[in-house]
Point group: C2
Chain length 193, copies 2
DNA sequence: GGGCGACATGAATCGTGGTTCATGACCGGA
DNA sequence: TCCGGTCATGAACCACGATTCATGTCGCCC
């Protein structure tokens, strides 16, 4: 896939940004971890910020791929699809500890890209919600975009609390169960209004 | 209240951190905006990081005060209390644009304090949820801490999307309505399981 | 074999900005 | 009025790290 050195740099950068933070990681350090000299970094990226943007796009692709795969592999009700998607998301987070910190920090380094990240993700959710609304599994009166941002906010905070703060890595089953229950009940079409 | 110069510095710092970001704001700049010379800054705070911590604690106090006031002023069901609390929160956010960015960025400058911030906030929510559970207004099987983090995640993301990304400042009424509906239905005690 | 171009290298450069400190202004008391 | 001490000032200091570049190395073609 493309340039192996570029790949190495991306991997090294993601790891360092996740372990420490963007501001605490140096270009020389990234290059060294990728097995390159400091100056060689600039043969692949224009600046330190530039590689952050590339890392961010890569993470976005991975998250979307993983979730899409899990979702398409799950034929079933909206509730089941939701669960499959979240499970895939939490699983990815646990395998690459700290990646999510990288995304968050990007807000203060490359706000435009950060926003693009979440808007892209939201678009995917919105499509899913709309389909479920057509099938009558989610209340038609709810704004799909609001639902999308509630999804993302919940995933974000539960991941932070139970995957990062607690050493574990994976959000515990019972926490996820509570989330799914809360969402299912919250979204389903209801009697009155 | 205490030292007026210290207050001025806190106000200046919060404003600058909110407008730009922690890393893009200089100590000299903060001091200047507070009407002080660069060196005088260190008569009040030990370091730049130190003032961020102080700003964070002040914001935390404000958020909790505002929400507590709104909640105690609202006698009623959990749904009404919830709404009052969130409304107060969104209102505060709209009056001090960008404060929430300051909180978020703190994660990468003073992680311990950032965590303390959310854990303190969560404790407050947990107490509220437990009371509502006793009164039978929230499903007794839900872990109050999970609910607390879903609350915070939703508030965070909706605030970011509709108060910051959209120029407005205040999260629109219909977005809030969707959130309240989703939470009320999601939390209420249910038939089966 | 020699010359050339492309790439790798890492030490030196350069800007930035947090922190320090020598200096001066001010004020209360003797 | 003079003295000592406290505080304000902002220029200088200093460390740090992103970026550059002069030099060396390698592989290819004539």
């Amino acid at each position: 896939m493309g340039d192996p050195q570029r790949q190495d740099l991306l991997i090294a950068a993601e790891a360092l940004f996740a372990e420490k933070s963007y501001h605490e990681s140096g270009v020389a350090e990234i290059a060294a971890r990728a097995g390159l000299a400091t100056g060689s970094f600039y043969r692949h990226f224009d600046s330190k910020k530039d590689i952050l943007v590339a890392v961010l796009r890569a993470i976005n692709d991975d998250v979307r791929t993983v979730m899409r795969d899990a979702i398409t592999a799950t034929a079933g009700s909206q509730a089941e699809v939701e669960r499959a998607g979240f499970d895939a998301f939490f699983d990815l987070m646990s395998k690459r500890p700290g990646v999510y910190r990288v995304v968050r920090e990007a807000e203060f380094v490359a706000p435009e890209v950060f926003r693009e990240y979440y808007e892209t993700l939201a678009r995917g959710y919105v499509r899913g919600v709309q389909k479920a609304q057509v099938r009558g599994e989610i209340d038609i009166d709810l704004d799909p975009e609001v639902v999308a941002f509630v999804y993302m906010g919940a995933g974000y905070f539960l991941g932070m609390r139970w995957a990062e703060w607690t050493g574990g890595g994976l959000v515990p089953e019972d926490v996820r169960a509570d989330l799914y229950r809360l969402l299912r009940r919250g979204l389903e079409p209801g009697e009155s209004r």
